[in-house]
């Protein structure tokens, strides 16, 4: 079983919203809430749609996104 975790670093994100636009599965959603730095940090709303193509990791200009998979010990040889 593969469990997915998407993290966005709020200290690094500048709110350019490239991830919301270029994700092929539209995993990210724009946000209306300002964080303490005054940035609209997008959130991974539809995490279950993600296919781990890692395009957002490469496309994020501020190195703020991490997409990783938590693999169960049973699956590992």
């Amino acid at each position: 079983m593969v469990d997915l975790m998407i993290t966005i670093d709020e200290d690094l994100c500048k709110g350019c919203n490239i991830c919301t636009e270029f994700c092929p599965r539209k995993v990210y959603q724009k946000s209306d809430v300002l964080n303490k730095k005054g940035v609209h940090v997008p959130g991974p709303e539809n995490e279950d749609k993600c296919t781990k193509c890692q395009l957002c990791v490469m496309m994020c200009p501020d190195q703020a996104i991490k997409v990783d998979e938590k693999v169960d010990e049973k699956d590992e040889d």
């Binding site: 993290t7 670093d9 200290d11 690094l12 500048k14 709110g15 350019c16 919203n17 490239i18 636009e21 270029f22 395009l55 990791v57 490469m58 496309m59 994020c60 200009p61 501020d62 190195q63 703020a64 996104i65 991490k66």
Partner: protein, 288 residues
């Protein structure tokens, strides 16, 4: 932040200097990511990488990377990189340069680097405008684009940097945009593996100056524009010049093998040390 929760490229960066100074949505960050990805794919030793840059927004990149780096005078990164490479040929020298740096003030250094075919990888970040100084028109600004020095649109024909460097004698030339990061990292991998002068032109977005003056205010608008306007080279060969007006031709322009400069220097030194005289070319000063 917890180290396991960090982006996979953070380990190459100086964490104390982040977040970097680039505007929100600037293409320089994407090019940093694609470079690290290409470097991982080329299985290169990060310890041997030396980054050289000139002046400009793009030239701030080496300052954020945890490797040996040199921030040089305007337009001269290729000259400094030539020195680094010849002093220590096992170094992998990568030059990050902008369009103002490579095409405007350092145009001569660029074509002479390509002519020598020295083993450098030059990544030219072409954002079509002088972004750092306030949005003046640069030698690569498209015809009719607006800038602070061209309120009625640029009249001049822009430089085709890839064509210029190809005809100057580079052995690997490719052009991609920041909207195609996977192809770009493949090109960077090939350029790093190529023994000779490798030139990669990356069309990048500058939403702050180029976008704002050309009705593309957000980075997303600019990246969509680049994606729509780019034509792959294979298809562009079949189209006429009128159809290609205003398009960005992307792809690999040159991939050949030629003798490399630092190897030639090493051979010269070797032959001089063993025989006492250099026997590379026939010298006019040498008697029979």
């Amino acid at each position: 932040m917890d180290e396991n929760r960090e982006n996979r490229f953070i380990k190459y960066l100086r964490k104390d200097r982040l977040p970097h100074i680039f505007c929100a949505g600037c293409g320089n960050g994407i090019i940093m990511n694609t470079f690290f990805n290409g470097m991982e794919m080329a299985e290169m030793d990060f310890e041997k990488v030396v980054m050289v840059s000139g002046i400009g927004c793009s030239s701030r990149i080496p300052g954020y990377v945890k490797c040996d780096s040199l921030h040089t005078t305007h337009g001269r990164p290729i000259s400094f990189a030539t020195g680094i490479k010849l002093a220590n040929p096992q170094n992998e020298v990568v030059v990050f340069t902008g369009d103002g740096d490579a095409a405007a003030i350092g145009g001569n250094h660029l074509i002479h680097g390509a002519r020598r075919n020295i083993n450098l990888t030059v990544i030219c970040i072409n954002n079509n405008i002088y972004g750092m100084t306030g949005g003046q028109i640069s030698p690569t600004s498209p015809k009719g684009s607006f800038g602070s020095t061209a309120p009625y649109g640029a009249l001049e024909t822009p430089f085709d940097l890839s064509k210029l460097v190809k005809s100057a004698g580079a052995t690997y030339v490719a052009r991609w945009t920041t909207a195609q990061p996977v192809q770009l990292s493949n090109a960077i991998k090939k350029a790093l593996k190529n023994r000779g002068f490798s030139f990669i032109e990356v069309i990048s977005q500058c939403p702050t100056y180029f976008g704002r003056k050309n009705k593309m205010r957000s980075p997303i608008d600019m990246m969509k524009w680049m994606k729509e306007e780019s034509v792959i080279k294979r298809r562009a060969d079949k189209l006429s010049e009128e159809e290609l007006e205003g398009k960005i031709i992307v792809g690999e322009f040159q991939n050949i093998k030629e003798p490399e400069f630092s190897e030639k220097i090493c051979q010269l030194l070797e032959s001089q040390c063993t025989t006492g005289k250099a026997m590379v070319t026939k010298s006019a000063y040498q008697g029979e």
